[in-house]
């Protein structure tokens, strides 16, 4: 690792004098004014380090400002508390380089009498991500520099400064000092998985973390350190209380906090007794004002009702519509069946949907509990799942076209024998299929309700998913249970076969769209694997048809061919997953649409200068997002308004997994895309609805 220390530790004349005085004070308090100067470089050894041994053009890497303090001395956190001053870093980077905000390790709480400060004893590494330009010449050398100002204190405080340089070679990526950086990253506060809120009275500020599963017996302490230095009385002991809902930390409100912001950011330090040892965890929280959140958030009942409505609307989506249509066609043939039997079909279909939704919710909660930052539609972030969905829908489409002789109980019209035997299973399977094909779609109202559900414990959250499933099942269920309605259905006839074959086309369209989604996720060979998969499915269908038409040996042979095709398709699904391109195409996609690619660092920088910003969180697999972009955001009037108002348009692509985007979604109580946020400089950001209209966007822009 290249780690040349160029710490000059140049100290201000004043500081030297101060240090001299400090020593003098120890020796002979009343007399000496000058003595041996103590250089701050002896108190703080500072250097600039990089994670990789050499850097790759265009590829971000981590750097660290490492501060090693003399025993008992400390430097300060971003909020120094009652005394002190945060370490300041001014970057001097070669042209084309950009650097993120600093990431500060969780601080120690330093108490002296009634003075409480936040800082670091021993060693602290402040991390930042540096992005070099893509046009660096391999083999060349670059030099990064950071000028730092710090205050180092024991009992005395001495300001110091240093100019840190780090020469780096441009070359192929190779191993570096991952150990040091892994250790430094482990000391950063983790992003909190739980939503936090705060409430303020005249004397107190209480931060509540909902759903945080701390074992009350093991919990030794919990304290909240806000980033804002004017909010709380640092020295007053914080009181914690926990109930079934989570953990609340109450702090004394500072008299400086004359205005209470809508959001309080900071770090929650939690000490837990684990096996007799005290373990400290730090979580980064962004607590929304409970009062402000009152308007936008919803209750469990509301979430469930919204989900029910969203489920009903899902039926009209191009992916689900054919499944529903086919099921309704079935009903027309059940006319001669008993009403009870028809009801059982409705129940089986509903059960298929509900079971699938419980499995889906279970997977979502389990993965999130495991620390994955995912949300609704997460499964489409996996190319294997997208390919598998495309294959299933293609096979289903072939079957509607009459080219694939399986799943007949589901699709074949007019075969009462099959329906009698396999009918209920078929209805159950149709429910499962409806759920599977519904997952790429997002209906209005879904974002808020699923976002809410994921913040709840599983037992509560799953009810929202069940409501969504029930909504999806509802149209068919009502038809099945109210025989009077069935009389409105058209009489069976030859037109049904035509309609069925026609309904294959929305499915083919969905397949085409899924392959397009895939093109954002995998490289050319992955895409080829998926397309070959489609060919193989068609070939398998051809073989199966032959096998059914003939009898004897050839039939068995064709059956074998079909089975081999099926296995090959599964192998292809696996191979699709292998071809992941190294760089995301997100930046490219964003640039294509005239926006800039979203990163939290970019957003933070823009917001720091009170620049109005429009953030669009989207994904290639999110149809609602694409419709909004094409019809509304790309509209000339909207684009002109962006330009006139000098609004920066940031586009975040969630097609592939991106924890930074997930965190921003969660900050606004969402678990999936689309999300549209308009940051209005000094004013609070506003969230736009998930279905945009030109007028709506223009109206909100006009308020700027």
């Amino acid at each position: 690792m290249i780690d040349r220390q160029l710490t000059t530790g140049r100290t201000l004349r004043r500081a030297l004098a101060a240090a001299a005085l400090a020593i003098a004070a120890f020796a002979a308090p009343a007399q000496a004014q000058y003595g041996t100067p103590q250089d701050t470089a002896d108190l703080v050894r500072a250097d600039l380090i990089a994670e990789p041994a050499s850097i790759v053009p265009g590829q971000p890497f981590q750097v660290g400002i490492r501060l090693r303090m003399k025993e008992h001395w400390h430097t300060y956190w971003r909020n120094p508390g009652d005394s002190g001053s945060p370490t300041e870093v001014r970057w001097q980077l070669p042209e084309g380089f950009t650097v993120s905000e600093l990431s500060w390790p969780a601080p120690q709480v330093l108490r002296v009498g009634p003075v409480t400060s936040f800082g670091y004893e021993g060693e602290a590494i402040l991390l930042a991500q540096v992005t070099p330009p893509p046009n660096l010449a391999p083999g060349s050398n670059v030099s990064l520099r950071a000028d730092i100002d710090y205050l180092v204190c024991e009992k005395e405080c001495i300001p110091g400064e240093a100019s840190l340089a780090l020469p780096l070679a441009v070359g192929a990526s190779s191993g570096g000092d991952t150990g040091t950086f892994d250790a430094a990253r482990a000391k950063l506060p983790q992003p909190s998985l739980w939503p936090a809120s705060f409430s303020a009275s005249a004397d107190t500020i209480g931060v509540t973390v909902r759903g945080a599963a701390f074992d009350a017996a093991a919990l030794k302490s919990a304290s909240f350190l806000p980033y804002n230095n004017d909010l709380i009385v640092n020295s007053t002991e914080q009181k914690r209380s926990s109930d079934g809902n989570g953990l609340t930390v109450a702090m004394a409100r500072s008299q400086m906090a004359t205005q209470i912001p809508d959001r309080v950011d900071g770090v929650l330090l939690v000490e837990e007794d684990i096996g007799g040892k005290t373990v400290t965890h730090a979580f980064e929280l962004s607590a929304q004002s409970a009062a402000a959140a009152g308007g936008s958030s919803i209750t469990l009942l509301q979430a469930a009702l919204f989900a029910l409505l969203a489920g009903v609307i899902l039926n009209l989506m191009p992916c689900v519509f054919p499944v529903l249509s086919i099921k309704i066609l079935h009903l027309t043939q059940h006319a001669n069946e008993s009403a009870g039997r028809v009801r059982m079909h409705g129940a089986a279909y509903t059960a298929g949907i509900l079971v699938s939704f419980v499995i889906l919710a279970g997977a979502l909660f389990a993965l999130r509990a495991g620390g994955d930052e995912i949300g609704w539609g997460f499964q489409l972030q996996s190319p294997a799942v997208v390919a598998a969905l495309a294959f299933v829908l293609f096979a289903f489409g072939l079957s509607l076209s009459g080219l694939l002789p399986i799943g007949t109980s589901l699709t074949r019209v007019g075969n009462s024998g099959l329906l009698q035997r396999g009918g209920l299973q078929g209805s159950f399977f149709a429910g499962t299929l409806a759920t599977v094909v519904a997952t790429p779609c997002t209906a209005p109202f879904m974002g808020a309700s699923i976002g809410f559900a994921l913040t709840q414990p599983f037992q509560l959250g799953v009810t929202v998913f069940l409501a969504l499933g029930l909504g999806l099942a509802l149209p068919f269920l009502i038809l099945a249970f109210v025989p009077a309605l069935q009389r409105f259905l058209p009489r069976p006839g030859a037109w049904m076969e035509t309609l069925k074959q026609f309904l294959a086309f929305p499915l083919y369209a969905t397949v085409a769209w899924l392959i397009w989604v895939l093109s954002f996720q995998v490289g050319p060979s992955g895409l080829l694997a998926a397309l070959v998969g489609l060919v193989l499915i068609a070939f398998g269908a051809f073989a199966l048809t032959l096998a059914q038409d003939r009898s004897g040996t050839p039939s068995r042979a064709w059956r074998g061919v079909a089975a081999v095709s099926g296995l090959a398709v599964i192998a292809l699904i696996v191979s699709v997953n292998m071809d992941r391109p190294a760089t995301a195409s997100a930046a490219q996609a964003a640039a294509d649409s005239g926006g800039e690619a979203f990163t939290q660092a970019k957003l933070d920088t823009l917001l720091a200068s009170e620049q109005p910003v429009f953030v669009n969180m989207t994904a290639a697999w999110c149809i609602t997002c694409l419709v909004n972009e094409r019809t509304t955001l790309a509209a000339p009037a909207v684009q002109t308004a962006f330009k006139d108002k000098n609004i920066v348009y940031l586009k975040g692509d969630w097609t592939n997994r991106n924890p930074e985007i997930t965190r921003l979604l969660e900050r606004f109580g969402r678990s999936g895309v689309p999300l549209y946020v308009l940051y209005r400089g000094k004013n609070e950001p506003v969230v736009l609805p998930q279905i945009l209209t030109e007028q709506l966007v223009l109206d909100s822009l006009a308020q700027l």
Binding site: D82, G113, P114, C157, S197, S201, A250, Q255, G294
Partner: protein, 207 residues
């Protein structure tokens, strides 16, 4: 927000408020009577806040070794402020809370030497080596500034200005909170910015 959660948060906040009121306030209340104190000044005179009723009183925590204090003394900023306001009948008390052996400690003689050397103009220098006044006022740093109105009510607590650095160059462009607050107190107006975050070196508490 979920109504149930709101309820929980409300109750939690309420309980917290009840708990917190039981503990001593680390910072004195702006708008409430300032904590009373009695101390001996560097000339051996007893000074009591009660005796100063009817006058505007400034408390200035100081430590001559602290770079932040030196910022204001080396540039003459603190002395100018002392002269400007003592001339207008304000009682200016510099408080030294460092215990013996710590940076900034001064006995009576050294305190007077410092005043002479620095050409300072406080009404008196209070010796607080056991940090009794510092604790009563929750003084955290040097310089930490307090203004008490003639009726004994605390009007301002916090920093001297809005540039929390040790650089003398930052004095000129800074907004001097103390000067502004004293002007407002003298005019009988409420103080616009009555509480700020003081900056500087930690007061050398013995424990």
């Amino acid at each position: 927000m979920n109504r149930r959660h709101f309820g929980a948060a409300f109750i939690a906040t309420f309980c917290a408020a009840a708990l917190l009121t039981g503990t001593a306030q680390a910072e004195p209340k702006i708008g409430a009577p300032a904590p009373a104190f009695k101390a001996v000044d560097s000339n051996g005179k007893q000074v009591s806040l009660d005796d100063l009723r009817g006058k505007t009183v400034v408390l200035e925590w100081t430590n001559d070794g602290c770079p932040y204090v030196r910022k204001h003394y080396n540039a003459g900023n603190m002395q100018a402020l002392q002269k400007k306001w003592t001339a207008q009948d304000v009682v200016w008390l510099s408080v030294i809370s460092s215990p013996p052996g710590e940076q900034g400690f001064a006995d009576a003689a050294r305190a007077n030497t410092l005043t002479t050397e620095r050409n300072a103009a406080p009404t008196a220098v209070l010796l607080d080596p056991k940090q009794e006044i510092a604790r009563a006022y929750g003084a955290t740093v040097t310089p930490h500034m307090y203004i008490i109105k003639p009726d004994g009510v605390l009007a301002y607590a916090g920093a001297i200005d809005d540039k929390p650095t040790a650089r003398a160059a930052d004095i000129e462009p800074a907004k001097n909170y103390v000067d502004v607050a004293l002007t407002e107190v003298k005019a009988g107006k409420p103080v616009t910015t009555p509480a700020t975050r003081a900056y500087g070196c930690v007061v050398k508490y013995s424990s």
